[in-house]
Symmetry: C2
Subunit: 358 residues, 2 copies
DNA sequence: GTGAAAGCGCTAACAA
DNA sequence: TTGTTAGCGCTTTCAC
């Protein structure tokens, strides 16, 4: 690889002139010199070393991105959008780390980012209140979290970007209630995060509004790996159990689409039909929703806009580290497909025990 | 961030002693000095700058990874495995780029890798015979390709890792033939790559062995973006057309699982049943196969082993750039689930026109 | 408008 | 066994 020295020699100028050309300080250059340098750069195929540049300036056009697992289509999709957005907005590249939502892995990634001189990072994690986040920000990492808990008292200065989870829970429950369901449940893996709590709150609010009191939150076993379609597996197993109970819900709101897909699969295996026997609704609206059988009704989150906001925000924080942290919340929207319908007739009668509306 | 100078000062030694400690050259150190330095490092929370180190040595513990799109679950899964394997084997981090299988994006990523001083790269691309690959390797990139065409005459020195595509095509076709299907087709997006050609060759070989001559290869419209579940969309559209033809195949081999999932979705929407009316088999065996309805029969590729091989190979090539390029081929295996069954009775009779076996 | 030179934080050859 | 120092490729002051 050619160096700035080689270019200077070939163009018969000093390295500082070459540097000025590289950094677009045209006002300081004689147009003729400028052209000569550009010509030399071209003939040598010279590309400035980001490494040397970074050592000098402390800046590098690179962003850290931590996701639980790219094998999960939802994070794979988000990863794509964030990477594209970083390129589009600023030409930054992305250093990727899968964390499995594991504290230790997150922590090691933070350390590595710091030693690579990367100062901006976007994190998908529910652990943002924990100490390793505070340590990392104190050491100079500018962090933006996706769907993390925004504890106002947390010491770490982190920006938060999230979908409106309360609204998502509310929309999902309302949809089922409007279809006539009276026995509905919210399904998720064990463990309450801030975002899950919001979804549940929205779900319960809709249930209350409908004058029902018996909405259930079902927690599966905890998700251990996130390395795969594990949520689907949990949902599948749970659906098998639900199928055997006579008073099972007629409508299920899943914490996300992967779990919903697992639920549908388990219900089918148990000989039940979706939506004839049980309605299922997911959240995130990943592309796979279009191709399940039946196509999955879901609550869509504006990933493109959120990716854009996260990149913009981390850039801003890189430029102005002392900016006060903010929380951005994006509206979600119901997308009705074929996995939700009226409850089976028997249940419409059996629902008489519940208070009537209006 | 503390520097090596700070550590030297605190420990009352020279920077070279600190450097020796950092690089594990314990034999040159007085144990007491060693301890003193380690202590200083700990109290300062010192972490050596990879940037400075890299400027000096030309090495960096980072790998490039180019995939068409992490939004495609297959590549999301592969990305996860490669990243994990890079961490496990050597502690390397991964610089990710989504390319959309676009020449221009690949090329720009190569340039950026070079200017970041990253010399090892794993590429998922069908364009490995093209010029930008040759340019990149000549400029010092050590490349390993996944499922790329291994043209022995290609000038670029690239290692290739791939599943046995011929075998995959053969296994898929054989499975349908053994079930009694006589009218089967291979389905893929327009455009023949080396790996698709191998799958087709395996598919045709099985058809010939069965004494049939009329196996069809169906090319959908070309895939334009890869940014999403586009293959599924193509499959869905195609299935809608197929459903209307009376002489449609009774068994479909899809080039990969996403396309198979799209085909199933389209068939269902057209009122056909899988596998009662049409059998569908995919390739890759992504986790989603377990959760489709019906669960998708597929040909599994050993992604874990292939990821391991790719990382090992790129490390080797980093150490010995002049090593001769090799091609590693990994066996695939049939995984039977519920999307394949005997053809409908009418077709079993209609198949009489085909030559009989034995 | 252009050039000389210091220095970013490390490694490694060489000196002591 | 430990220290001194040049230099990796660039940016940026400051002098001309």
């Amino acid at each position: 690889m050619a160096t700035i020295q080689d270019v200077a020699r070939l163009a018969n100028v000093s390295v500082s002139s070459v540097s000025n050309v590289l950094n677009g300080r045209t006002e300081r250059l004689n147009p003729a010199t400028f052209e000569r340098v550009r010509e030399a750069i071209r003939t040598l195929g010279f590309r400035p070393s980001q490494v040397a540049r970074q050592l000098k300036t402390g800046q590098t056009p690179m962003l850290g991105l931590l996701v639980p697992s790219t094998a999960n289509p939802m994070y794979g999709q988000l990863t794509l959008k964030i990477e594209a957005e970083a390129q589009r907005q600023t030409g930054y590249r992305v250093l990727l780390g899968n964390t499995n939502r594991d504290r230790e892995q997150e922590s090691r990634m933070f350390d590595d980012l710091l030693s690579f001189g990367v100062h901006g990072v976007i994190v998908v994690s529910s652990l943002t209140g924990e100490q390793h986040f505070e340590v990392a920000t104190r050491q100079g990492l500018a962090m933006v979290s996706y769907d993390g808990g925004a504890d106002p008292d947390a010491p770490a200065r982190i920006d938060h970007v999230a979908p409106d989870n309360f609204q998502a829970g509310y929309l999902a429950a309302s949809h089922l209630l409007e279809l006539g369901h009276r026995r509905i449940a919210f399904v998720m893996p064990a463990g309450r995060t801030v975002s899950r709590a919001s979804k549940i709150a929205g779900f319960q609010a809709a249930v209350k509004e409908a004058g029902l009191g018996d909405a259930v939150v079902i927690e599966c076993s905890p998700a251990a790996h996130y390395g795969d379609a594990e949520l689907a597996e949990l949902g599948q197993a749970l659906a098998g159990q639900l199928a055997q109970t006579s008073t099972r819900p007629t409508g299920l709101v899943a914490v996300n689409d992967m779990m919903a897909i697992g639920l549908m699969s388990g219900l089918h295996q148990a000989g039940l039909s979706v939506p004839a026997d049980v309605s299922v609704i997911g959240m995130d609206d990943i592309s796979m929703c279009l191709y399940t059988n039946p196509a999955l009704t879901s609550v869509a989150m504006p990933f493109g806009e959120m990716a854009q906001a996260m990149v913009r925000r981390v850039m801003l924080r890189l430029a102005q580290p002392d900016e006060a942290p903010i929380r951005l919340c994006f509206p979600s929207g119901l997308v009705v497909r074929q996995s939700t319908a009226k409850p089976p007739a028997a249940n419409r009668l059996a629902g008489a025990g519940a208070p009537k509306r209006g």
